[in-house]
Symmetry: C2
Subunit: 85 residues, 2 copies
């Protein structure tokens, strides 16, 4: 079973990597970009089992290891049947 | 308009950061995790305009700056009306 975790900086937390990307895009001529923020994307392969238990476990993993709750938010996604991509 | 870019390592490319996460999760007791791969998640705020043009531009940004096409794949997502989250 696949699970995806998206980790983003909380609103208001300075994102120097995002600033650098914004400037780089602007010097490449992409002037339409107003803001850029960089986060992490974690793809997990977990043993098959009940979906709700898996989601609970992955949320716990995100809280304890993958995200820093002081400055980061996270979102967990477990693709259902037929929407695996 | 928001655009999201997911950058992942290509299949077969070694992912030491993912290995480290896998080991750390295992020592925390999350034995159900079989594999972990780490990617980047870029959130862009771009000037409003036609959606297909925006998507084309963002794919170009990904190709030229955000991803390294030799070792990374990317996926672009422009959330439509009503599915912004």
């Amino acid at each position: 079973m696949k699970a995806r975790v998206y980790v983003t900086l909380r609103q208001g937390v300075l994102d120097p990597q995002g600033r650098a990307v914004l400037h780089a895009l602007s010097s490449l001529g992409f002037d339409q970009v107003r803001d850029a923020r960089i986060g992490k994307y974690v793809e997990l392969e977990i043993a098959d089992g009940p979906r709700d238990e898996a989601e609970k476990a992955v949320r716990e993993m995100a809280r304890r290891l993958l995200a820093n709750p002081v400055i980061e938010d996270f979102r967990v996604e477990i693709p259902g049947e037929g929407e695996a991509r």
